[in-house]
């Protein structure tokens, strides 16, 4: 990989930003309400993965592979948690280059000068409003954990556990961390807002000139210090690109490289418990409020908007999928409604804090039908065995969401518009510019994750082998790989 800027230059820019910022929020304290909300959100996102996603996926496989899916998801949460505090957070959320951060906060070395790690603060989207950095670290940790857990659905029922065990840490390190950095890393609003305020309040004459010069310096530092996709202007409120497109394309690549399940298209591969899938999907919806409304980082109106959108887009998408299926196939299915709900949650993820509620309903209606089309017509036409439709729901839903966000953020359509911190207000909306930015985000993620995942799957195949033997597959992964059965009745 090639960096746009050398590491040292990025570090210098970061240091400038840090110096400028430190004077601004030297005496800032965190708001306990924001902290409480973010701690709640963090455990809600954990709930999405375990048991939400685990049960959603587990119910969809055959009973002989139930535990293998649960084990893979649970393992993923545990390994990513450790990676995150060792170096993951630092590589994703410190300055460095446009593509990856540095090691300055590795091993959670976040304590400010002369203080402890309890005093470290992280920026929100409002100047001089911070939250405790440890909470921000845990919050982002749960995002890093759910993303690779989403991928395991694509190659469910045939991948060796050893292969999953090796693939997940490699993928998080080489695919997730750079994408998270590219999309989400920025300098924070404090320094630029303080400089802007200084210009506005400065007396005329020399003071004004000095303040203006300081502002220009701060503006340059602000524009330089951010991730590559962030600087392209792409907006992604809670992770449509970072989580869903990223995981979805990796899943498709994995499903193609590992091959179809033995007996695919011939044997009965019906879900073994749609009851569990319903429980899992519902827990996903509940947990997703932490994901989307939590991504506001403050317990404010923005969080309430994200919460509202996460209700209505999800409901609209579930109805869209269910009624489309009813019209086309003649029956409304529960699995269709559940799949639609997840597709709606995926699509509203990047839009949650940007779209208006009516826009979110339209987004949900569109994504419900588009994902149904991809999970049935396209998948059958192309013949790949994406076992649990990770691509059809998460990647396709993520793309619909990312592009839809670019449209629905428009204040004329009830959106919030995009904040421009260098002028201190909502920027003028420009459809072409915003959609171009969104395309940059989508395409960068597709290429980075698609190509990178293909390489990683090949590496893992050489080291431990990706695929279980046909005998193991027939017997089921639970008893052969884990020597356990899900149900002893």
């Amino acid at each position: 990989m090639t960096f746009k800027r050398p590491y040292s230059a990025g570090l210098a820019a970061f240091a400038v930003g840090l110096l400028a910022a430190s004077s601004a929020y030297a005496e800032a304290t965190v708001n306990k309400g924001d902290n409480a909300w973010m701690m709640t959100s963090t455990v809600l996102v954990l709930l999405m993965t375990i048991p939400g996603l685990a049960l959603f996926y587990g119910g969809l496989v055959r009973s002989k592979n139930m535990l293998s899916v649960l084990a893979q998801v649970f393992y993923t949460v545990c390994i990513v948690t450790i990676i995150w505090v060792l170096y993951g957070y630092s590589l994703a959320f410190t300055g460095g280059s446009d593509f990856i951060g540095g090691f300055s906060k590795a091993f959670l070395k976040i304590a400010p000068e002369g203080k402890t790690i309890l005093d470290a603060q992280a920026a929100t989207f409002t100047a001089d409003v911070n939250i405790t950095e440890l909470i921000y670290i845990c919050f982002q940790m749960t995002f890093a954990a759910i993303t690779p857990a989403l991928i395991v659905g694509a190659f469910a029922e045939r991948m060796k556990f050893a292969a999953v065990a090796l693939f997940v840490p490699l993928w998080v390190t080489l695919i997730y961390l750079p994408i998270a950095h590219m999309v989400w890393y920025w300098a924070g609003p404090d320094a630029i807002s303080a400089a802007l305020k200084a210009v506005e309040t400065a007396a005329d004459g020399a003071a004004k000139t000095a303040a203006q010069a300081a502002f220009e310096t701060a503006k340059t530092a602000f524009s330089d210090d951010g991730g590559w996709i962030f600087k392209k202007g792409a907006i992604d409120f809670a992770g449509g690109t970072v989580v869903h497109i990223n995981a979805g394309i990796a899943g498709l690549v994995g499903a193609i490289l590992i091959g179809k399940r033995t007996g695919y298209g011939k044997d009965l591969m019906a879900p073994h418990s749609l009851t569990m899938t319903m429980i899992g999907a519902s827990l996903l919806w509940v947990g997703w409020f932490g994901f989307n409304a939590g991504s506001n980082l403050e317990a404010s109106g923005g969080a309430a908007l994200a919460m509202t959108n996460s209700f209505v887009a999800t409901a609209a998408a579930a109805l869209a999928w269910m009624f489309a299926e009813w019209i086309i196939k003649g029956h409304p299915s529960l699995l269709g409604a559940l799949s639609g709900a997840v597709a709606g949650l995926v699509a509203v993820t990047p839009a949650a804090g940007f779209a208006g509620p009516m826009g979110a309903i339209v987004l949900g209606l569109v994504v419900g039908v588009v994902c149904l089309f991809f999970c049935t017509v396209i998948k059958n036409a192309l013949g790949y065995d994406d076992a649990l439709d990770v691509f059809g729901v998460h990647c396709v839903g993520g793309i619909v969401g990312a592009l839809g966000t670019g449209i629905l953020v428009n204040p004329a359509l009830g959106g919030t518009g995009v904040m421009d911190y260098t002028i201190g207000k909502i920027a003028e909306y420009d459809l072409v510019a915003q959609m171009t930015s969104q395309f940059w985000g989508v395409c960068t993620t597709l290429v980075w994750s698609g190509v990178g995942s293909a390489i990683l799957f090949k590496v893992v195949d050489v080291i431990v082998g990706l695929r279980a033997t046909v005998e193991v597959e027939r017997e089921g992964l639970d008893i052969t790989e884990h020597t356990e059965r899900a149900y002893n009745m």
């Binding site: 009965l268 591969m269 019906a270 299915s333 999970c375 017509v377 059958n380 439709d389």
Partner: protein, 112 residues
């Protein structure tokens, strides 16, 4: 002695049991089975993946009776299990050579 074996629709089990009790058949073995006959199977659809499920769930009951009770038993089962729809099931009658009650050692007619 005979064994009357019947394959019936699952939701007809209670009615069949009541009918057999009414004619004095005390004892019945029930097994959950799957199979197909003229009813064939049905189609299940999961997110667009269609599966032809050719084995339908049925209940198999077995009763051991004296030979002179066979007609009455068949009548009782037929009446109770009939819906008139395809898939009501079948009755098979098999010769029974010997029977023993495990607790007492009684044999044949006394063991039924």
């Amino acid at each position: 002695m005979k064994i009357v074996m019947a394959i019936i629709k699952p939701f007809k089990l209670e009615e069949v049991r009541d009918a057999l009790t009414a004619i004095g058949v005390h004892g019945l073995t029930v097994t959950e089975v799957k199979g197909y006959g003229r009813q064939k199977g049905h189609t299940e659809i999961y997110r667009g993946a269609e599966y032809a499920v050719s084995f339908l769930p049925k209940i198999k009951i077995e009763v051991a009776i004296a030979s002179d009770q066979v007609d009455k038993t068949i009548d009782a089962i037929t009446t109770a299990a009939k819906t008139g729809q395809i898939g009501d099931g079948k009755i098979f009658v098999i010769n029974l050579d010997h029977a023993v009650r495990i607790r007492t050692g009684e044999a044949d007619a006394a063991a039924l």
